[in-house]
């Protein structure tokens, strides 16, 4: 599948440096479960926002596209999920510009990137 974002397939899913800063807020080895809780929020919130975004794009609802993409950008950004964040930022911008011409392809790419991101977080960071 061609990537709508034009990002290279080797583009990192996670900004490890950024994520480490967040992980360091918890106790060593996540003894207090802080980081696990954050990932839990991420795994719960992203699919919900993604589906909201998909509906907004399909309905050509620019305002809702901008809002959902903005929320997704924030959530992804906090955990250094940069590929998702870039896609969300692009969709937010397109929603604001009232131009959803290539939006669907970007949503599809997000649906592809999210499971990869989830897998990366679960297998390398938990």
């Amino acid at each position: 599948m061609a990537l709508a974002s034009k990002l290279d397939a080797s583009y990192p899913l996670i900004d490890g440096q950024k994520l480490q800063l967040i992980r360091d807020l918890g106790e060593p080895d996540d003894a207090d479960g802080f980081f696990r809780d954050l990932l839990g929020i991420f795994f719960e919130r992203v699919p919900h926002l993604l589906s909201e975004l998909e509906m907004a794009v399909d309905a050509a609802d620019c305002v809702q596209t901008e809002q959902s993409a903005h929320a997704l950008k924030g959530t992804a950004g906090h955990l250094g999920a940069i590929w998702l964040m870039q896609l969300a930022a692009w969709l937010e911008e397109q929603g604001r510009a009232k131009n959803l011409a290539d939006a669907r392809a970007h949503v599809d790419e997000m649906k592809l990137v999210y499971p990869l991101t989830k897998n990366e977080l679960e297998s390398h960071w938990l």
């Binding site: 918890g26 929020i41 929320a71 906090h78």
Partner: protein, 238 residues
């Protein structure tokens, strides 16, 4: 995260609970996380935060920008830091003009959150130190919105405390009506009746804490604060 109003805490208004947790850990101060601005507005009276973090763009309903003036008028001396994930500088300027003290960009960087928080707390402490004014036998604490005198201590509304502090700061000189309105209500136009109602409330409040300090009216000019210690002592002596 739940908070006991008796403890020291901040408030974080953001529809993403991840933000509540990151702010709490970054500042090492408990935060009461609230997702819905309406909930925050209904709890204004019961909450006494040391600082507030507020997202400009909330999911639905009112935006952070819209409720900022309410927060500022309820907590006049509490540092308010807006969180923004938008590159638009205009919303930051709007937020600062609506009463915010500073802003933090998303994605949050823990050290930056902590540094900005500490800076704003230091500013607030400095401001609070200057905001304790003594006049006659009363002490007006604008930061905590209290007026204390020989008969006791009373809490005042933000406008009442501003009004009293403004009169006390001039050390008994007359403050013109329009200057007083500007100091207490800012750009909002208020009628003379509204000012008189507030003055009546402040007079009542003063009566509760002291029998020596009064607000006097200079008709057609303005108002001033008067301390009548000598007269009181003469009464006692006779």
């Amino acid at each position: 995260m739940k908070g006991n109003p008796g403890d020291t805490y901040t408030i974080t208004l953001d529809d993403d609970t991840m933000v509540h947790q990151i702010i709490e850990r970054s500042t090492k101060i408990k935060t009461i996380g609230i997702k819905d601005p309406e909930e925050l507005l209904t709890r204004l009276a019961e909450l006494h935060p040391i600082a507030i973090f507020i997202d400009i763009h909330l999911g639905t309903g009112r935006t952070g920008l819209e409720i900022l003036p309410h927060l500022r008028s309820n907590w006049p001396f509490c540092p308010i830091l807006v969180i923004t994930g938008t590159p638009a500088e205009q919303s930051i300027v709007k937020a600062l003009n609506s009463g915010a003290d500073d802003f933090i960009r998303k994605p949050l960087i823990p050290d930056e959150v902590d540094a900005r928080f500490k800076l704003r707390m230091a500013d607030a402490a400095q401001k609070a130190a200057k905001e304790v004014v003594e006049f006659g036998d009363i002490t007006i604490d604008s930061a905590h919105r209290t007026v204390e005198g020989p008969h006791g201590k009373r809490f005042a509304s933000p406008i009442e405390i501003n009004l009293l502090a403004c009169l006390a700061n001039t050390e008994g000189a007359i403050v013109e009506k329009d200057a007083l309105k500007m100091r207490c209500w800012g750009q909002i136009k208020v009628t003379d009746n509204a000012l008189h109602r507030k003055l009546h409330a402040v007079r009542q409040l003063l009566k509760d804490v002291s029998s020596s300090v009064h607000i006097e009216t200079k008709y057609g000019v303005g108002f001033y604060l008067k301390f009548e210690e000598q007269r009181q002592q003469l009464h006692v002596a006779s």
